[in-house]
């Protein structure tokens, strides 16, 4: 094939050379796409200095994006569009990323249904985050929202329309007009009921128009850090077990959340927090790991969430004794109490031994006392859901449910531009890690703060995916020189891989993973108090030590899912340990982190009283600050530091800081 290029093509008979491999020949029009393999032949170099038993291939790019979900694809083609030679490393095919499961919409203050203003959206988001969100990042996101949605629509995303042809917006999730005083706002744009699916397919289709090199089904193992800079990633091909070092001046992490650290979660099996674990192994901190968003009624075993509307229509929760237990916890509201009250009540019932099922680890949602006609009209499709996911006939049996993880607010700390930062306590400032960026659920910008509002997550993906690409384009040029990586960079990852591949201890990976998930579900879920969390910290430490005693059965390199699941378990454990330790230390209740022993929010002032005459508490005494967690990979010990919340917006004249207040809806 390469020899074909040696024959010069006569300019007279200019033609399309059609052979089985589309090689781009000089003089031909560039309508031919490089085939996956052919284009890489020229660039790759085999490296033998690092490992002789594992073939290592080196690649060089201007930028590499890890993860191809909503944020990853947006960053990847944003970079390709700007002219950078971009690689996108993903362990799944892009359209299989978990973004595809997001059905809700995207919030944007387009003002199609009524007069709207992005500053109101900004206020709502700051309030939703319980004043833990960085207001400059929120300012950036809500200001860019209309442009981002219109850009998606121009890419071909088929939003639903009003009669006039503008995008239809509906009311959703804590959005209000006029800084909370003007009633419900209609800001949520959607594509029928498959916004995430459509977003992902639109972005993927769009990205194929650019020259991004996709490394599909390559598991990124570690970042290549040199002199405090990130210079690429090392990844393993799932297909043939070859190791690839992708050297790039800019690395963008868009790997998603770590829902799978819990027993019951809505995330796919592939949501294992790879990005945040890679950052931990590189010695950098993760931010706000204790903030995990739960939903009270997720189907046991399946992880699908059942709507609160079931309880609204008359359904109620029962424990193993058949008692309608919510009457004890919330005498007036009963089953219609707020989500966190319901989640906590369910967990308390389970802890006290009144759970249902053989393991007594869930409760029942009873709907069979309602007339079937009413169920069918008010909640069409619920019988199908219950049959498929729970295997029950909703008109005769109750649905097993338990509190389920849905979203991780925590992740890799970044500034509003998408650059990864760490906090220097001495100079009290954020320091940018050169060459490393993060966006999406993996990052913590932090726009969601202590609690994420509905329909803001898809917005976060596209805005910050684009922000990373823009920042990189601003500060770098395509084809720029970059620092070298040492000959044996990534050696530790390969050693780890080899150690795991031949691990012959006692515990199979699946068993250890299940143990970790059970511990997280019992000790670091909704019900958090001092003793429970301390027990969780200790148990997770024990499980972490048990990682040395794993047993793998598959020694091969080709599609070794045992090995990959073990690597993912390592990543999950890093995330789980940081979550539980951070939760144990935070002694207040804020947003999604609710503690029984510290029920109030602890800010620098007591905002329930007038501020005059109050003295501000020093930072060590209040909790309106971000948690930064570092972890030692050898010992499993987590070290916590804190970083102040950024209250100043990008432009105080344009959008003033929202002063903290008591959050009530």
């Amino acid at each position: 094939m390469a020899s074909l290029l040696k024959f010069p093509i006569s300019p007279v008979s200019r033609c399309l050379i059609q052979n089985s491999v589309g090689v781009k020949a000089a003089g031909c029009s560039s309508t031919h796409r490089h085939l996956h393999l052919a284009s890489r032949q020229a660039q790759v170099k085999k490296s033998t200095k690092i490992s002789t038993s594992y073939p290592v291939v080196d690649h060089e790019y201007d930028a590499v994006v890890v993860g191809a979900g909503g944020a990853g694809l947006r960053a990847a083609f944003g970079l390709s569009e700007a002219g950078f030679k971009t690689a996108c490393v993903t362990k799944l095919f892009p359209t299989r990323s978990h973004t595809v499961a997001a059905q809700g919409g995207i919030n944007a203050a387009l003002g199609n249904m009524e007069q709207d203003n992005w500053k109101w959206h900004m206020y709502d988001t700051v309030k939703g985050s319980d004043w833990l969100g960085d207001q400059d990042a929120i300012h950036y996101m809500t200001k860019e929202a209309p442009a981002a949605v219109i850009e998606l629509e121009n890419y071909g995303m088929p939003f639903s329309r009003t009669n006039e042809g503008t995008i239809y917006q509906r009311a959703f999730g804590g959005q209000s007009l006029d800084y909370g005083k003007g009633g419900q706002a209609h800001r949520c744009c959607c594509v029928a009921d498959r916004t995430g699916h459509s977003l992902l397919h639109t972005l993927y289709g769009r990205s194929l128009a650019y020259n991004t090199d996709y490394f599909i089904e390559y598991f990124a193992m570690d970042l290549l850090m040199e002199e405090g800079e990130c210079r690429g990633v090392i990844a393993m091909s799932l297909e043939d077990g070859t190791i690839h070092r992708i050297k790039a001046k800019n690395t963008v992490l868009a790997t998603g959340g770590y829902g799978r650290a819990y027993f019951s979660c809505t995330s796919a099996h592939t949501c294992t927090g790879d990005g945040s674990a890679m950052v931990t192994r590189a010695g950098l901190p993760n931010q706000d790991m204790e903030f995990v968003q739960f939903h009270p009624t997720g189907i046991y075993g399946a992880g699908c969430l059942i709507t609160e509307g079931c309880r609204g229509e008359g359904g109620y929760l029962v424990n193993s004794e058949g008692e309608r237990f919510m009457e004890r916890y919330a005498p007036t509201a009963k089953d219609l109490a707020s989500r966190d009250v319901v989640s906590r009540s369910m967990t308390i019932e389970i802890r006290e031994g009144r759970g249902c099922g053989p393991n007594k680890d869930h409760v029942y949602l009873q709907l069979h006392h309602l007339p079937p006609q009413q169920l069918a009209t008010r909640l069409p499709g619920i019988s199908e859901t219950a049959q498929i996911f729970a295997g029950v006939d909703v008109t005769r049996e109750p649905i097993p449910v338990l509190p389920t993880v849905h979203y991780n607010m925590g992740g890799v700390p970044t500034n509003f531009k998408g650059q990864v930062i760490y906090y220097d306590g001495k100079s009290s400032s954020d320091v940018v890690v050169p060459g490393l960026y993060a966006c999406g659920e993996a990052a913590c910008a932090s726009v969601h703060g202590a609690n994420r509002l509905g329909a803001n997550s898809l917005l976060d993906l596209v805005v910050f995916g684009r922000a990373c690409a823009l920042t990189i384009a601003e500060e770098n040029k395509p084809g720029e020189d970059m620092g070298e990586i040492s000959e044996n960079a990534g050696e530790a990852s390969i050693e780890n891989l080899d150690k795991l591949r031949y691990a012959d201890g006692a515990t199979p990976t699946a068993e250890l993973r299940n143990k970790m998930q059970q511990v997280m579900q019992t000790n670091a879920a909704v019900f958090r108090t001092g003793p429970v969390l301390k027990e969780g910290v200790q148990k997770i430490q024990d499980i972490y030590d048990e990682m040395d005693n794993l047993k793998l059965s598959d020694r091969g390199l080709i599609w070794n899912s045992d090995l990959i699941e073990t690597l993912e378990l390592q990543n999950l454990l890093l995330n789980a340990a940081q979550t539980v330790v951070a939760a144990e230390r935070r002694e207040e209740s804020r947003g999604a982190h609710a503690r029984e022993d510290f029920k109030d929010r602890c800010d620098e002032f007591d905002y329930s009283k007038p501020l005059q005459g109050q003295e501000a508490l020093p930072e060590s005494k209040h909790w309106r600050k971000h948690t930064l967690s570092n972890m030692s990979v050898e010992t499993g010990k987590v070290e916590l530091n804190y970083r102040p919340v950024i209250d100043s917006t990008l432009d105080q004249k344009e959008c003033k800081t929202v002063p903290p207040a008591i959050r009530s809806y």
């Binding site: 059609q18 959607c190 509307g309 499709g381």
Partner: protein
């Protein structure tokens, strides 16, 4: 119709370049009369012992489409079918919540 591909090979040493017109003959050659009206169809994957009966391809669609895809109550075009997904404060479809 078979494809005609022109390659102009400039042989290394020879000055006289020979132009070949190669006819690539596809594996199956149809003359005009023989082109089947209905293209040949691959047979279905054989059913395994443990496979469920997959002949019933219609899933129970709990949601009827709106006339002309326009929601009669809100006027939304190409919106989600069935009752309003956000009526309980979360995004609900068939009893399942995906956003809240």
């Amino acid at each position: 119709m078979s494809r005609l591909l022109k390659y102009t090979l400039n042989a290394n040493a020879q000055k006289t370049s020979i132009t070949f017109t190669q006819r690539i003959i596809p594996a199956v050659f149809y003359s005009k009369k023989e082109i089947p009206a209905v293209p040949p169809k691959k047979p279905n994957t054989p059913k395994g012992k443990l496979d469920e009966d997959s002949t019933n391809t219609s899933s129970t669609n709990a949601y009827e489409p709106f006339p002309n895809n326009v929601n009669p109550k809100t006027g939304e075009i190409n919106g989600p079918r069935g009752p309003e997904p956000t009526r309980y404060g979360d995004w609900e479809r068939k009893g399942r919540v995906t956003d809240f």
